[in-house]
């Protein structure tokens, strides 16, 4: 199996895109295309399982590295590698994509071919973001996620889909322009795009003019990532994009795309500019707290189920940022764990909302009520997912939030206190929504006749429920790999802290 190591990352990354291009050759028989897309995405998932199994858990080293010269001038390498943080994000991506294919089986009627091509290309781009270690390559994959996602929203969404797609595209595009400028600056001073090389150059202080520029560089990357997370006040694209996107689009958007932002913050913004990150942590954490509370409060009053879940994402991702910028081992571990847990739980919620939409063509909570009677299985799955999202112990949401709040308390107690209210809020809006949709008497007669889950939908939901439970019961499987990577990321901060103490 060792012989697989150098190519496994490229394999995992490009299987979906190659499959997507092969779909071009399949004649327009929708069933064949769907089956093929499902097979390809499952293949990518199986291949990606190789990664965590064979990841040696050493401190802060990248594994499965491949480093080939791509372009000599500028000095761009095809450099990929993963550590304990990115490996799970890759697996999350490959885990969610087959479910997206399943959930889109009937909801996509026209231009089916294009849909699955876009979905698979998007998967490649997403995996690429998490595996790229060359900043240029990273930027390439980062931008490459944009077009398929925007097209998915704009072509297959509903309502104001064009508005949402354009808004999504422009927000991200404008944000990433700043990152590009910062990236090119780094290249002009270091002569390399390689993450490790640049990181070492910065740490050894051999980058001319870095002291003066570091704040701007930090901000350049920060804006790009903050838009993606989305951190308050850059969040306004998110509700539109989520509500109008097709279900598969929402699942990947919430499940993986948002993590690109937090992953970027952790890997690049914090990884390259630890001193600036440390200096700016207070206001970033305040923004994160605003996001947690604001997102929760807005969720509380949403009449639209999908919008409610969308705003809850803002709240949950606030926890992630809070954890990252607490610069404590617990906080960072928790942040990474929430990324995964949120991907599973919120991905599941969007799938569930999509299933309901297929039947009733509305997301309005007031249109439902008492659904537990006609759709008991659906209600059960929904309950499990909601509880996971709320953070019930033994389900996956709890571990991450607990760790993040521990970290936040260590950083500054008031942050922990304020952050903890977010947990309460999330219980309020999610459980209240659950109550209004499922309990009581059936309010509208049409809902009496709603069919319960079919086999395909169950096949899509079981993995979510199982993952939520397993991650909650045995978080160490995940944290065992995450912790060494987190410790490596924290190394510069312990130095910073000791410096402060030393003074």
């Amino acid at each position: 199996m060792e012989s697989l190591s150098p190519i496994i990352l490229s394999l995992v990354t490009f299987i979906p895109a190659v499959g997507g291009l092969l779909i071009l050759l399949i004649p327009r028989r929708d069933r064949d295309i769907k089956l093929f897309a499902l097979v390809i995405s499952l293949l990518a998932f199986v291949a990606s399982l190789h990664l965590p199994v064979h990841l040696h858990r050493e401190l802060g080293a990248f594994k499965f590295e491949i480093d080939k010269v791509w372009i000599t001038s500028p000095n761009i390498h095809y450099h990929m590698g993963i550590d304990g943080i990115s490996v799970w994000l890759v697996v999350l991506t490959t885990f969610l994509t087959p479910l997206c294919v399943l959930i889109s089986w009937h909801s996509i009627h026209e231009r089916v071919k294009e849909f699955f091509i876009l979905l698979l290309i998007l998967e490649t781009a997403l995996i690429g973001v998490f595996t790229a270690l060359d900043l240029f390559l990273f930027y390439f994959f980062w931008e490459a996620t944009l077009i398929p996602m925007a097209l998915l929203i704009g072509m297959y969404g509903h309502g104001r889909k064009v508005y949402a797609a354009v808004k999504f595209f422009l927000f991200t595009m404008i944000g990433s322009m700043f990152m590009l400028a910062a990236l090119v600056w780094l290249y002009t001073k270091t002569g390399s795009f390689d993450f490790v090389v640049i990181q070492n150059a910065i740490r050894s202080g051999s980058v001319p003019g870095f002291e003066q520029a570091s704040l701007w560089l930090f901000l350049g990357f920060f804006i790009a990532f903050a838009v993606k997370v989305p951190l308050f006040p850059f969040h306004t694209w998110l509700p539109d994009a989520h509500v109008e996107a097709p279900t598969a689009g929402s699942v990947l958007l919430a499940g993986v795309l948002l993590k690109m932002g937090t992953y970027g913050l952790l890997r690049f913004d914090v990884g390259l500019f630890p001193a600036q990150a440390h200096r700016n942590a207070p206001w970033v954490m305040v923004l994160a707290l605003i996001g947690i509370i604001y997102g929760a409060l807005v969720s509380l009053v949403q009449p639209n189920m999908k919008k409610l879940i969308a705003y809850s994402s803002i709240s949950h991702l606030g926890f992630v940022v809070l954890g990252i910028f607490s610069f404590t081992a617990a906080g960072l571990n928790g942040a990474v764990f929430i990324m995964l847990a949120h991907g599973v739980a919120t991905g599941g919620l969007f799938m569930l909302a999509g299933i309901l939409y297929e039947r009733r063509h509305t997301y309005e909570i007031s249109e439902f009520g008492g659904l537990a009677t006609p759709m008991p299985k659906y209600a059960t799955f929904f309950l499990v997912t909601v509880l996971a999202s709320v953070g019930l112990p033994l389900l996956n949401g709890f571990i991450g939030e607990f760790l993040v709040l521990t970290g936040a308390f260590q950083a500054r107690p008031i942050y922990g206190v304020l952050g903890a209210t977010g947990v309460i809020w999330s219980a309020c809006y999610l459980l209240w929504m659950y109550q209004r949709v499922f309990f009581g008497k059936v309010k509208h007669d049409v809902n009496n006749a709603l069919p319960d889950l079919n086999l395909r939908e169950k096949a899509a939901l079981w993995p979510i429920a199982v993952a939520a439970l397993v991650m909650g019961v045995a978080p160490l499987v995940w944290l065992g790999a995450i912790d060494p990577a987190v410790q490596a990321a924290l190394a510069p901060f312990t130095q910073l802290a000791s410096k402060v103490v030393g003074q």
């Binding site: 372009i71 490459a144 704009g154 595209f169 595009m173 600056w185």
Partner: protein
């Protein structure tokens, strides 16, 4: 204007004559150094001769083929010419990496434009003879523009290419807008050329020479201060050339002209003469090391990018939209001119190549889609193209993505090199303006993509299958854009190498010239 021509000649002619008299008749290798120009001229004349012999109805295909063979022969002869580096005709023309690069570029542009015109001429019922002839003659002018190192010859080359394009712009005879386009282009263009000529004359007055190298020496040898006249001369020449590359504030003509001119010709105009004019600008600014250029270019670049992008936001006609986009791209390119000479030159060269590939391609799509009388050129007409003609829409999307500057397209690396040249030269302000503008730019290109994919098609817009020639043209552009986006190394190395040649031993960057631009 004639007066001005006369005055300029009366100043510079003696110098030329003196050079000519002291030399022997040109050796045979001199002709090798203008071989592509000769080949193109011969084929152009061949077309003019053959044209009357052919039945007008059937002449499109055969004349087009001759023109295409002419450009291919010229490409081959450029490769041949590249083996004879050096100057020719008493220091009037120089063959070097730089000029070979632009020869390849403009001839390739002409070839692709000719390919995409095959169907167009038939559909629009345009006579093919003069059309192809003028494209070839215009290309001769553009080629000469890139290899001339004598300001008077540069002027003549500029006129050859300009006059051809003035006429080509008016080829949709039945449309008033086309005549307007041609006339506007001609009047304003002549005015701008006069400025250039005036600048040449003043430069001759300031330095006593019209040869680029001699000017550079005269301006920067010895400790003598640069005469004030040279600053004025630079400014005037810049005005003339800025018009040709449609940079603000001399860009007003572009949208009207592009809207009226035949679509394939717009593809040509916005890339070929522009690339050649940029070549002149590179020579005048960097090789001649023109004084006081920094702020001139800085302000013009910032203005061009911003105006181009902002105006493009509200356009509903795709040709006009692409016209403003081409203004914006001229602005991005100008940023390279404010950078250090070597970096700037190579970045600018790469940019012209990448821009040519994507823009000619985009116009090839617009050409095919425009149909009889160029009826379908508004944004609304593109609604639902993604459904009715998926391949065409996908290629157009690809070109637009390149224009936005998304990675793995040539447009991305072009922008990237300009940005890194600017940052290496510490032009942080200009770099930030560039970045912000690219973000604005994304919006209007996106509007087209949105139209194509996210709107329902309107029934009345016919979608005809793409004919072989146009398909070939578009394919070439896609492949080149992709090549420049995935493996830009070779082209960039070549550009960097020729840039080093061009600015060697004149590399002193002149960033702090005291001359500040005032609005002319």
């Amino acid at each position: 204007m004639m007066m001005m021509v006369m005055t300029a000649f009366s100043h510079s002619l003696p110098a030329l004559l003196a050079q000519a008299q002291t030399s022997l008749p040109p050796p045979g290798t001199d002709y090798m150094r203008i071989l592509p120009e000769l080949v193109l001229s011969i084929f152009g004349m061949l077309i003019m001769v053959v044209d009357p012999l052919l039945d007008e109805e059937n002449s499109h295909q055969s004349l087009g083929t001759i023109a295409l063979i002419g450009t291919l022969a010229a490409l081959a002869s450029t490769a041949w010419m590249a083996q004879y580096p050096g100057t020719a005709f008493w220091n009037m023309v120089r063959v070097e990496g730089f000029s070979v690069f632009f020869h390849f570029l403009v001839i390739a542009i002409a070839a692709v434009v000719i390919l995409s015109s095959f169907e167009y001429l038939k559909v629009q019922r345009i006579r093919a003879g003069e059309y192809y002839g003028l494209i070839l003659f215009g290309t001769v002018g553009m080629c000469l523009m890139s290899s001339a190192i004598e300001l008077v010859l540069i002027f003549i080359a500029l006129e050859i290419s300009s006059i051809s394009t003035y006429v080509l712009a008016g080829f949709r005879r039945r449309e008033a807008s086309s005549s307007e386009s041609s006339l506007k282009y001609f009047l304003l263009g002549s005015f701008a050329t006069a400025f250039f000529l005036y600048g040449v004359a003043l430069m001759f007055g300031a330095t006593g020479s019209t040869n680029i190298d001699a000017i550079s020496q005269a301006l920067h040898s010895g400790g003598a201060p640069v005469p004030a006249l040279a600053y004025v001369a630079t400014a005037f020449m810049f005005v003339g050339l800025a018009f040709k590359v449609s940079s603000a504030p001399f860009h007003i003509w572009a949208p009207d002209v592009y809207e009226g001119a035949p679509a394939p010709i717009v593809g040509l105009m916005s890339t070929g003469p522009k690339a050649a004019a940029f070549a002149i600008l590179l020579r005048v600014m960097f090789e001649a090391n023109a004084p006081g250029r920094f702020w001139l270019i800085w302000v013009s670049a910032a203005l061009t990018m911003t105006l181009g992008n902002v105006c493009a936001l509200v356009q509903d006609n795709v040709k006009r939209l692409l016209a403003y986009s081409s203004i914006a791209h001229a602005g991005y390119l100008l940023v390279a001119f404010a950078a250090q000479p070597e970096l700037g030159t190579s970045a600018a060269m790469f940019y012209t190549a990448a821009y040519a590939a994507m823009n000619v391609g985009a116009f090839a799509v617009v050409t095919h889609f425009a149909n009889v009388g160029e009826k379908y050129v508004t944004l609304e007409d593109y609604a639902g193209l993604g459904r009715s003609s998926p391949v065409l829409a996908a290629t157009f999307t690809f070109f637009l993505m390149s224009l936005i500057g998304i990675p793995i397209t040539g447009g991305f690396f072009a922008k990237f090199y300009v940005l890194s040249a600017a940052l290496k030269s510490d032009l942080v302000g200009l770099a930030i303006i560039l970045v912000l503008n690219s973000a604005v730019g994304a919006y209007y290109y996106l509007r087209i993509i949105v139209m194509m994919y996210m709107r329902e098609p309107r029934g009345e817009v016919p979608v005809t299958p793409v004919p072989v020639a146009a398909a070939l043209a578009i394919t070439v552009c896609v492949l080149l854009t992709l090549y420049l986006g995935v493996l830009p190394g070779r082209v960039l190395d070549y550009a960097a190498h020729s840039a080093r040649q061009l600015v060697s031993d004149r590399a002193a960057p002149e960033l702090s010239a005291g001359y500040h631009a005032t609005e002319p």
